[in-house]
Symmetry: C2
Amino acid sequence: MKAVVLLSGGLDSTTTLAYALSQGYEVAALTVSYGQRHSRELASARAVAEHYGLKTHVVLDLDLSFLRNSALTSPDVEVPRRDTAEGIGEKIPVTYVPARNILMLSLAAGLCETVGGEAILIGANVVDYSGYPDCRPEFFKAFQEVLRVGTKSGVEGRPIRVETPILGMSKADIVRLARRLDAPLELTWSCYNGGEAACGHCESCILRRKGFEEAGEIDPVPYEVDK
Amino acid sequence: MKAVVLLSGGLDSTTTLAYALSQGYEVAALTVSYGQRHSRELASARAVAEHYGLKTHVVLDLDLSFLRNSALTSPDVEVPRRDTAEGIGEKIPVTYVPARNILMLSLAAGLCETVGGEAILIGANVVDYSGYPDCRPEFFKAFQEVLRVGTKSGVEGRPIRVETPILGMSKADIVRLARRLDAPLELTWSCYNGGEAACGHCESCILRRKGFEEAGEIDPVPYEVDK
């Protein structure tokens, strides 16, 4: 049985990939390079795919600079700097990319139909969603219906499943799961900013570090703030 | 009021654009160049956007060659040759591109949120759908729900509307509407194959020519078969 895993190269997607493989899926990974500031993730995605010896890893270049209001696609919008996780998730942040996960899932669905796969796995999670509307359970449920009525496989009675294995987990749970599955966390990159070391101050770094701390694990990735 | 129109440069999308403008929308057009064989359409899309003096026309390059089973994205799959419209729509054709309209609508939704628009217009139509699952009313309804629960505008209570003004029209009706709205049909391109003149034998040509014939109108586009 085949599945497509959306692999950004971060903690969550890498753990999701490790989970998919542990479930026996033959995985085709899809990485979308959408001009995000954290293009450092791309190198991580490639390293993770190589680590697992995946036969199919599609890396797609997609210029989303026309979505110019997001901090992740536009150089004109600053990635917010934080010191704690307080307030994260209370409202939709400027790192929201309009229709991002709809787009990611549509590309994954296209690849999944092409390789004859039966499921898409995405590492969305409720803690990490930080107020993103397209990381909520009701969004994935609605998208599942789109796949049922709007694709060849769906119309033929075998709709592609959308699986969100870490959706309800805390970051600490994700770190624990990753460790249990022996995921190559040293290869991952979660920071929204580029650079040699992770910044430690963006929402993504804050949430990741909190997760490792709560799980009692050492984060193998270097941080600027620890130097 | 602003809207995004998906503009391929064909008869249907050009008519949809003309309709959107007639409704008073300020239109941002989105053209996705996805390595389709009919990239000749791209020049048409630009010419149509220019004809209407649109301030925003985003042309997005997207390499969908990884969807390698479709005749519209892969050089290995032949565009079928037909002599009549008979049999079109009875089953899903090889020109089906997996998850194509999900992808198109997700990009349009992203642009729509970015420009503060309230609607997306797409020139899907039931005759033309030729068996495409993602041109059916139930697909658009399901996608509407995705926009309601999965986007910032949706969560904030003003979901982007998906409008399909020509969905139920015959090709002849579309030609008549286009003529009534004075759409620049001479600039459009519907043929799935490239070339100086339209082939006249692909599904898209067959349906278009039948539409003009039934509407009693002359198609201003030249065809190989008429030479």
